[in-house]
Symmetry: C2
Subunit: 251 residues, 2 copies
């Protein structure tokens, strides 16, 4: 990912003291750019040591009011995973009803999970009741779930650096998933993840390769001061376009 | 963060081919462990080039059905930021009503934002209407917002590697925030962030330093196969405890 760097950083002197070295920054961007949603896994197990590092990284996620609302359910049991796979299959078939042809056939041809192939699954949950009154949650109660998602992304990037692939399965109904894993009704299963060493880390998102959707040009997504004011032709826009061009459509 | 590594990685031969080098992994974990919610900023501006890299990293976040539901509103205008700060002040006062003493005074003594000091603010939004039928969103419509949170965490970690601090302000009412930034009613402002070079990256979360809440022991948060089955005394638990001990209460 050295193409992310067009020369030494132009940080102000004060701020520079906290910046990582160029090599270190490159590694952080490499994890971000080469992270993929993985559906094809090798059977090799993940060691407890590696798994511990990945889960520990999630626990270092940010949380509103330092609430730490997450829990981690490791799913190794074959019977429970068969049940989750069955739940996925039903949901997938049901979801297909909402696509018209040729989109429906394309949807049904995609491999969207690795529940039984991956050596371990991990359900990351959110407990909205973890603390009585949470600082910062009065105006936006949903920030508990937001915190949990940030923890998941920490896990995903740590896993990438370890060579471990993560696939997020969202084609599942929560009440039934709670039933399979014994999760109380007030706990929110935020992410059901498949973890394992992947057959490959593809160069681009699978849905892009399959022609499902393309990466949006970043400069269409940036506004200044007001939603109705696009970023325009400023230097920021030029840098964003340059980064898009360097990364290419493949990433 | 070299204490995160207790020897060479014990990856299986096949999986190892995708793992980062030890130095690279160390950099990824460093970003994760040294990321902080920043409230004290220096006035130094962030260059457009650095800002572009950080926003571009967010755009490389995972998204359900490759939906990419996010937008980024850079808020530089002093008058709008004064209005956001005013909104924060009202919410903060209102939220204080829900704390009893001595918690209320403690709450009111905390610095919880850097809206006007930070050289730039950034509102990251989610557009639930970005695509007609989104693959994977039939069963869990809220995954659009989850995707946006993952993008925010990418941005937060990229910023840390650049020496840039990020502070998430959640003490804001969304309808009023929409009004200040001209955000349409159907767009969800997920994260209001203050960005700038920090006075410091503290060694532990500010709320921990203030005695507000402590880090939870990770081994209380891991379950196996069923919510009611704690991880127990396995090797995973030992590794998790060791990581907690190595990181110490400070992180």
């Amino acid at each position: 990912m050295s193409q992310q760097y067009d020369g030494p950083p132009d940080l102000p002197v004060d701020g520079a003291s906290f910046a990582f070295s160029e090599k270190e920054r490159e590694a952080v961007y490499r994890a971000i750019y080469q992270r993929r949603d993985i559906r094809n896994f090798r059977p090799d197990p993940i060691s407890d040591r590696t798994l511990a590092r990945i889960i520990h990284a999630a626990h270092r996620g940010p949380s509103v009011g330092f609430m730490q609302p997450w829990d981690f359910i490791l799913v190794r049991d074959a019977e429970r995973r068969r049940q989750v796979k069955d739940l996925f299959d039903r949901e997938r078939t049901a979801a297909a009803c909402f696509f018209d042809e040729p989109r429906r056939s394309a949807y049904l041809s995609l491999k969207l999970e690795g529940i039984e192939e991956a050596p371990v699954n991990l359900c990351v949950t959110c407990d909205p009741t973890r603390a009585d009154v949470v600082l910062g949650r009065n105006s936006m109660p949903e920030t508990d779930v937001y915190s949990t998602c940030c923890a998941v992304q920490n896990l995903w990037l740590a896993a990438r650096s370890e060579g471990v692939g993560v696939g997020w399965v969202s084609i599942l109904k929560l009440p039934q998933l709670r039933g399979i894993l014994g999760i109380p009704p007030h706990i929110i299963p935020v992410a059901y993840l498949c973890l394992g060493y992947p057959v490959e880390f593809p160069g681009e998102p699978g849905l892009q390769t399959a022609g499902w959707r393309n990466r949006l040009p970043i400069d269409q997504l940036v506004h200044t001061d007001d939603w109705h004011n696009p970023v325009g032709d400023g230097r920021l826009s030029k840098y964003l376009e340059a980064l898009d061009a360097e990364a290419g459509p493949a990433q």
